[in-house]
């Protein structure tokens, strides 16, 4: 039927998404629709929704500078700027559809235009921009223990703490306390990092407003930024970062970060017409 609404499900290191191809911007994507699609029991389920729309067919002011715009929404329907895991899945979708050159493509996002390319092993590499250090010494308190932390913007705020073992952070049911508060007036994502070997770290992350997640692309970059600046750190240009949802790699070249990781499509289909009618 011409009325069928196509949807896909995909993930990048366990950060999962509903992909909604809407090339011509024909859908009126409401917060209710996003919430219904991302609901894990009553819908398809996902951390967020990636609407694929041609920039020229989208009235978002950020939809410019590239043929396709990643209209990313959080599961609660709110607008989001960028997502290092989501944009890989978005790029994989464009490549699978024959709509982008895997050797290199630009994708417009609410966080600006990003460059993405497919590597020979099928993983995708995304330009993540620069890191900006937060001055001052921070500390992170978790499970009644305090760890020193460094602050960095990428451009969202991160506090990175090196720990002896990842389970030291406990179940991370609530946000770790980061002080002094004035360093992070808009809240902060917290990374707990263990150095496994030269150029290889393992981390867990608590995302502000979300909780512990399976993976965080900017968090991985923040952790590598911090790891490379530790005394005696490996000068390896590329770091392996193990997150609970899989493995990412981060490359830092002349202050520019690149995030590398898998982009998985699980299934491709159409919404049931009766189900879709509920929010049309």
């Amino acid at each position: 039927m011409a009325d069928d609404i196509r949807v896909l499900k995909g993930h990048g290191t366990g950060n999962d998404f509903v992909i909604l191809p809407d090339f011509d911007g024909a859908l009126d994507v409401t917060a209710q629709m996003v919430g219904s699609l991302c609901d894990r029991r009553f819908g398809l389920g996902g951390d967020g929704l990636l609407r694929v729309v041609r920039s020229e067919r989208c009235d978002d002011p950020q939809a410019q500078g590239a043929e396709f715009f990643m209209d990313y929404r959080n599961a609660d329907g709110s607008l989001a700027q960028m997502c290092g895991n989501g944009i890989r899945v978005f790029a994989r979708f464009l490549v699978d559809e024959g709509l982008a050159d895997p050797a290199g493509m630009e994708i417009a996002t609410r966080g600006g235009v990003r460059h993405v390319r497919r590597l020979r092993d099928g993983e995708y590499a995304v330009g993540m921009g620069e890191a900006r250090e937060v001055g001052g010494v921070a500390s992170v308190m978790v499970s009644n223990r305090s760890y020193p932390a460094v602050g960095v913007h990428l451009p969202n705020p991160h506090a990175v703490a090196f720990v002896g073992a990842l389970d030291a952070a406990g179940p991370l049911l609530s946000a770790p306390e980061v002080s002094p508060e004035h360093l992070f007036p808009e809240g902060v994502n917290v990374e707990f990092v263990v150095e496994v070997a030269a150029g290889h770290i393992e981390m867990r992350v608590h995302e502000r407003g979300v909780g512990e997640t399976w993976s965080c692309g900017t968090g991985a970059c923040a952790a590598v930024w911090a790891a490379r600046r530790r005394p005696g750190a490996s000068d390896s240009e590329i770091y392996r970062v193990d997150v609970p949802g899989g493995t990412l790699h981060v490359r830092e070249v002349e202050g520019q970060f690149e995030l590398i990781g898998p982009a998985v499509i699980v299934a491709d289909g159409v919404l049931d017409a009766e189900w879709a009618a509920a929010w049309r």
Copy 2:
């Protein structure tokens, strides 16, 4: 492609399922495959998987007495007998495909052959069989308070406790303590029930081995069995049962229970070939 594996996602009052049409029994459904499909982040997500297979093409000894067999698996890959919410979704799928008469159909399950029919409002009614009372007085302890409970098999074990308000049971993070233990040697599902009006109850359920769930079909029948036997109870033949995931109705006629509720299909598609190759 001939190799495409079709999958659907559906739910009944928030109890959600991956539907895997495999009419000719061509798929070798392993526990790993079920776990991958039901994983909420790395797969499609669901409480369980409903494989749709012709009885004559399935070597399960229970696959008999009806054209189609509901090969139901829990999300961990283990075999399951029956599911009052799942079988409605299974029946809806058969009707949508033109493979069953909505006015009445038989479906083979590991719990025996069940009769299912579509009602005029689009909901589905399932024969759930008889209830068998558990002798002796039980009590349920939750949030440091004890409630009297009645025990009933349907045929899985239930302890039904009437409470003043559903939030009295607290967050139900762990299994309520039911005593005396010898009444339920195989463990027990616990229903907390509030009488809203004549013929109308509201309930929450803690399923053994699972935790609190959005809905439980046999639990709804058990709660109505108990409600109809209370002093001064409504002699209404049909009861409305509000569960956290929606509304069910339960009819008791000559000791036979019938469960009525919605059957929702969310989406219909195919697995990504690369993703599916991982467990083939």
